[in-house]
């Protein structure tokens, strides 16, 4: 059979963000592939050095559209470590609430994208319809569907009134019902299973070697979750389980993400029920003393890592971000070896790409 080179990207109906692949095919089997990224590199880490700490919160929110709050929250936590202040309990709970909502949002979005790339448009529409409920909750909480701007150094800036709280709990009940239905369909949908089983295999040893994090790693058996392993308030007071799987293929990742969505809905309910009263923020000084601090959080795609170094002025000397999609991207040429052309879309969707995160 003929040898062809098929380009996937930078523009392709399958990719949400630009990423260039050259896939070498023999007939319908992929023999090799090369990857090129950097199309959405905006130089955010360099831009951070020219803006003040306060301006950076909003800049860093725009690293990624889906995990925007997590980036801002991790950065604020690093700066608060440098300043030596601790956010009030209520603020910590609110930050965690938005974090979990973003996780649900991200997984529902991913489910829709995977279904669309497989050809099952119906599940795409249903998943994104359920995602609308989450976006409405986030909009009621923070004023924006995707960019929340709720973090300030020292806490959060908008609150949940008791009426809001009741309404959100009601919407969470609806969401729970819809997500359960969706998870039931996904877990039993035969055509989805046949398309995703055995595709995009990653063994536990490969996961460790590439330092993969997040649901991709948990689907291969690595039991690591920042919420449980390095708990911050309120995760140390809430009980939740972290789903893992051992197969390491796209089907395992689907199951892990769907179960995580259900766990997150439960967590949101628990957070809203147990949220304590109190102030929303503490006063933070504008000048940050020299030093360096790191902070890690569990973004929807895995562990996001921030390093902030200050030299005593009001702009940071260095902000370094390690996003969770980056190691997953690096495993892609490995995952693509030996799959058929039709599975390329499944593999690329299974990794839950967020190129904007990876390129920064």
């Amino acid at each position: 059979m003929a040898r062809t080179v098929i380009p996937i990207g930078p523009q392709h109906p399958l990719l949400k963000e630009p990423l260039a692949f050259q896939i070498m095919l023999e007939g319908e089997r992929v023999t090799d592939s090369t990857m090129r990224m950097g199309y959405v590199h905006r130089g955010i880490e360099r831009l951070c050095q020219e803006r003040t700490y306060v301006q950076n919160i909003h800049l860093l929110e725009r690293v990624c559209g889906i995990c925007s709050h997590v980036h801002a929250m991790t950065y604020c936590h690093a700066v608060e470590s440098l300043l030596g202040i601790e956010v009030p309990l209520r603020a910590a709970y609110l930050r965690a609430l938005l974090c979990e909502l973003e996780r649900i949002h991200s997984h529902l979005l991913w489910m829709g994208v995977l279904a669309r790339n497989i050809g099952l448009d119906t599940i795409f529409m249903y998943a994104w319809r359920d995602r609308e409920v989450v976006l409405d909750i986030m909009e009621a909480l923070s004023g924006g569907r995707v960019s929340h701007a709720i973090n300030i150094i020292g806490g959060v800036r908008s609150d949940v009134t008791p009426e809001d709280r009741e309404e959100i709990l009601e919407q969470l009940t609806t969401l729970d019902r819809q997500v359960t239905r969706l998870v039931g369909v996904v877990e039993h949908e035969r055509s989805l299973q046949t398309r995703t089983k055995g595709v995009g295999l990653l063994s536990l040893e490969q996961v460790r070697r590439y330092c993969v994090v997040g649901p991709v790693a948990r689907a291969s058996g690595l039991d690591a979750d920042m919420r449980r392993d390095e708990p911050r308030t309120p995760y140390d007071r809430l009980s939740f389980n972290v789903p893992t799987h051992t197969a390491g293929d796209v089907w395992a990742r689907t199951l892990v993400r769907m179960q995580e969505t259900r766990v997150s809905v439960e967590l949101c309910r628990d957070i809203l029920k147990e949220i304590p009263e109190g102030p929303l923020a503490v006063r933070a000084p504008r000048r940050v003393p020299p030093g360096e601090a790191i902070s890690r959080s569990e973004a929807p795609r895995g562990e996001v890592f921030y390093y902030v170094r200050s030299d005593g002025s009001d702009t940071p000397a260095r902000v370094k971000i390690r996003t969770p999609t980056l190691p997953s991207l690096l495993t892609l040429p490995q995952q693509l070896k030996g799959v058929t052309m039709a599975d390329v879309s499944v593999v690329l969707s299974g990794v839950d790409l967020c190129i904007a995160c990876a390129d920064r």
């Binding site: 800036r157 039993h188 035969r190 055509s191």
Partner: protein, 139 residues
Amino acid sequence: MRKAVSTLLESLRTLAYLLPQLGRALVTRPETVKFPFAPPVIPRGYRGRVQIHPEKCRGCGLCVRDCPAFALELQREDRNTFKLIYHPERCAYCGQCEVSCTFGAIYQTNEFVRGTDDLGQLVVTLVDRRPARAGAQDK
């Protein structure tokens, strides 16, 4: 052959999960909103256009310093003469100016900002303070 037939039977079984949802979708109202042929649904806390109480503004410049999009500009001559200019096309509608202002002058409404082709709306003078006039404001 047996495996293929069992696959066929299993795919019929999954109909039991998806088919009821299809039926439910047929009898419920569509989820889509008819914007822009119908007005948008705006929640209470929506972060929209930036406005100001011009009499409260002291021209301190905290909002200007904290704006991540460099959308605010302060032209200052002396303590009582200054102009605060707002560039809506650079604004990211984050509301940091409202948080930073210690006098409660600048605030964020929930006015939904639509695109316009009127270039005159690109530069908005929020506060034009001069000693002769007592804080005239024009938009």
